[in-house]
């Protein structure tokens, strides 16, 4: 064997062992609300046993480049499988079915936010289980492997390779000489922003601006905003909360889609990095422009022949138009997937803008998914270069990002990734359409395209049947498994997973 799979498996085992600790959070919630603790106890036992067994495969794991890819991809699959156990053991509602449980768990860890829960309410599910669902997103947001690098000393050498395979965007940015310190810094910022959001949400609740935002909801939404997750224990997502809550969540979603390295520099007193970063400026510009156009289409009611009841309070009213436009544009661009309103009722122009936003994604080094702002920026710049060199064939014109010239190989990699992303998207759409036809499930191409785009981009809700207030429940089991794979691929940015399925990976 040219790939030392034992080393990879052993480290996956170590990660699982640590994952057992995180089960204590739903256990505490369960104790407070008097929920049954068996689902978590059972999961804990299984996870610890599996983790210990795997860790024994290789007591002294040594990671090369290939092992790193295998380890990262396998970790995410293993974590998703283990994370599905509480849903199955609890045995309530639609997620008790194993395929659904795996879908929900993968959607959680990959911070997608697509759900197959038929009934999101405390009548069907315990407080503890719904908090576990929120927690999976928080753990997956900054990255399980990044967290492992932060705390496991044995990952210090191969750590950069591991983080590279997991972190969003092309390449990672080392903030400190030691990769573990970088990982700790990123998780520290992530934790800090999460706590800040929870405190502010509770503050709104205390001053009476958010009566529904009690401690449980504040923590639950803090857990899913910063990872750009999108799960909510409320069936109506953020629509269940006041306008003040909706406005407050917008900047936190924007922050979640920002390169966390910029926050690190800002905390070290270098605010100019944030202002001058070309990706951040482009990101802010895209958000601003999308918000403005969506707000315009909402305000004028463009594309609406008759005025549906849901739109009555929005069309012609500036504040709600602007609020929902900003919220939905940011939610889709950062791949969070929260909804402040059921945008299925929106006019087609507004919907189409949100649909296109599925492919934008957050910044590199953020918790967002999809293609990422920086790749679009490089593609736009290199297209501009192509146009110029068509007329001036002798011009040597490097593509610059923030004053630094980009390596041509990096640009080629970005093109390859983007093309592969769209190829997978097209293949996914085709397979899901065929599958739906097989079982006679009547979905439109638009709905399927939004479902596939939202799962591979880790966004969550799509349009129509998979809209923000609906679910992915009615897809056949085979389509759900395909989407599980798409979420997995999407979270790890396709290549680190896809490479495992090439013969060259396993050969000398």
């Amino acid at each position: 064997m040219y790939v030392d799979w034992r080393a990879s498996a052993s480290l996956v085992g170590t990660v699982l062992q640590y994952l057992t600790l995180t089960l204590s959070i739903p256990v505490v919630v369960g104790l407070v609300y008097g929920d049954p603790l068996v689902p978590f106890a059972a999961t804990g036992v299984v996870t610890l046993a599996a983790g210990t067994g795997l860790a024994r495969l290789d007591p002294d794991p040594d990671l090369g480049m290939r092992e790193a890819f295998l380890m990262v991809a396998a970790t995410w699959l293993a974590v998703a499988i283990v994370g599905a156990l509480p849903y199955v053991v609890a045995g309530n509602g639609t997620v008790a079915q194993p395929t659904n449980a795996l879908f929900e768990s993968m959607s959680g860890f990959t911070t997608t936010g697509a759900t197959v829960m038929g009934d999101i309410s405390f009548d069907t599910h315990s407080h503890a289980l719904l908090m576990w669902r929120q927690l999976t997103q928080w753990l997956g947001g900054m990255g399980i492997v990044v967290l492992a690098v932060a705390i496991l000393p044995e990952l210090s050498v191969g750590g950069a390779q591991l983080m590279d395979a997991e972190a969003p965007g092309p390449g990672i940015e080392k903030l400190t000489p030691r990769i573990a310190e970088t990982a700790r810094a990123l998780w520290g910022i992530y934790l800090g922003l999460t706590v800040l959001e929870i405190v502010l949400l509770l503050g709104l609740n205390q001053v009476g601006l958010a009566p529904e935002m009690g401690p449980y909801n504040a923590v639950a939404h803090g857990f899913t905003t910063l990872p750009t997750g999108g799960f909510s224990p409320e069936a109506y997502s953020i629509e269940a909360f006041s306008a003040a809550v909706q406005w407050l969540i917008v900047p936190f979603m924007v922050a979640a889609g920002t390169n966390f390295a910029l926050f690190w520099y800002a905390l070290n007193g270098d605010l100019s990095r944030l202002r001058q970063d070309s990706e951040f400026r482009f990101y802010a510009g895209v958000i601003g422009a999308t918000t403005a156009v969506v707000a315009g289409t909402l305000f004028t009611g463009a594309g609406l022949a008759t005025l549906p009841a849901e739109m009555a309070g929005i069309v012609g009213d500036l504040e709600p138009s602007l609020r929902h436009a900003a919220f939905q544009a940011v939610s889709m661009i950062t791949t969070t997937g929260y909804a402040s309103v059921d945008f299925n009722a929106w006019g087609m122009p507004s919907q189409m803008l949100l649909f296109l936003a599925l492919f934008v994604g957050g910044s590199a080094g953020s918790t967002g998914g999809a293609i990422k702002i920086v790749r679009w920026l490089v593609i736009l710049k290199s297209i501009r270069r192509e146009l110029f060199t068509t007329v001036h064939p002798d011009d040597v014109r490097p593509v610059r990002l923030g004053g630094r010239a980009l390596d041509e190989r990096a640009i080629r990699g970005i093109y390859a990734f983007t093309l592969l992303y769209f190829a997978l998207f097209a293949l996914g759409v085709l397979l899901v359409m065929l599958d739906a036809g097989r079982v006679g499930y009547g979905v439109t191409g638009y709905e399927v395209m939004s479902a596939v785009g939202a799962t591979i981009g880790n966004v969550g809700p799509g349009f129509g049947a998979v809209g923000p207030m609906n679910s992915y429940l009615h897809f056949p089991w085979s389509s759900k498994l395909l989407m599980v794979a798409l979420m997995w691929f999407g979270r790890l940015e396709v290549l680190p997973v896809l490479v495992l399925f090439t013969p060259g990976y396993w050969r000398r």
């Binding site: 001036h392 002798d394 011009d395 040597v396 014109r397 490097p398 610059r400 004053g403 010239a405």
Partner: protein, 443 residues
Amino acid sequence: MRVVIVGAGEVGSSIAESLASEHDVVVVDVDSDRVESITYSLDVLAITGDGTDLDVMAEAGVADADIVIASTDDDETNLATCGTASTVSDAFTIARVKSANYLDTWEHSEGAFGVDFMVCTDLLTAQAIVRLISLPTAHDVDPFAGGKVQMAEFDVTEASPIAGQTVSEADRFDSLTFAAVVRDGEVEIARGETVIDAGTRVVVIGNPESVRSFASAVAVERPAIDDVVVVGGSTIGYLVADLLERRGFAPRLIERDPERARDLAERLSGSRVLEHDATDQTFLEREHVGDADMVVATLGSDERCLLVSLLAKRLGVERAVAVVEEHEYVDVFEAVGVDVAVNPRMVTAEEITRFTREDRAENVAIIASDRAEVLEIEVDPDSVLAGRPIREAMGDIPEGVVIGALTRDGEFVTPRGDTVVEVGDHVVVFVREDVREEVTTEL
């Protein structure tokens, strides 16, 4: 003063020649033929040996030397020579380098490598070229008194409005002094009645504004230079483009080696780098190089520089500047149509000489191949100028001298006959070579 010069190439010999009359000069070179020829041609002591060899340096009397100049063609040898000298002597060390990296290091921590003053050939050459670009009609421009004063040489053409006028007729520019008229290589001090004929070259000294307005007056509707094409991505070419970028130009740079072109394009964010052979006429036409205001040829080979310059001129480029390594080619190039030929070694020798002259002469520019000089001098109490109106002092100064400009406390003062020169003033004087020695002691 005792001056030790290591390296008797063009730069070293040229410095030795300018210093030999006033100082005790010792020249050290590894090449015994060169040493022999210098022994006979110059009044200096020439020694065969390596400047990094302590014994050789002892023989050259480095322990008693006031200045050590390392001017070989090899950077590392020059740095090691200065380092060696500073271990046994308190002499002021001057090193000539090509690489701008060494200059950067030295500027970060002065005294690095045991060097007290560093002269970067490529950078000096680039700066000289850029000065020409910012004053497009000038043949040579040198700054004095921290940039408050400029000396510039201009060619007078038939069409020029001052052609055929006398100096007093042409002298309608404030803060500007006509210093000399160079006619067929002969330097003529500008008097009121001196006629400025077409085909001559005038030397003027003044503040930068007056020099610029004079430049636009002698230039017949020649637009300011905007579009510059640098041909050849040598270090000089890169530095020229870089300096131009900093002045707000967006030059084009042509380099035929793909890797070098890519490297340059990455470093020069404000320039357009083209990867092609600049002697390909179809390419030059396609990129409309003929429309450029100026072409700077820095190809590393004199012949190719000449070829490109002439090709560019034929395509309609206003002015062509070529970097010429071979000293003897300078006049030839200018004779066949290159507007300005810049010789890096001459530029370097000029800079080093400026530093070696008696302390009071702070700055120097060489005119018409050493037939005259422009010097900057700080007036001390012993000077014939001190405390006297210029008209009165001029009687005690030999012919062949023009007081071009004066700065007092960093401010420009136009010298008129009744201007009283004070101790501490900086005077910029034009001096004919034959009276230089006499003048520098009197002033």
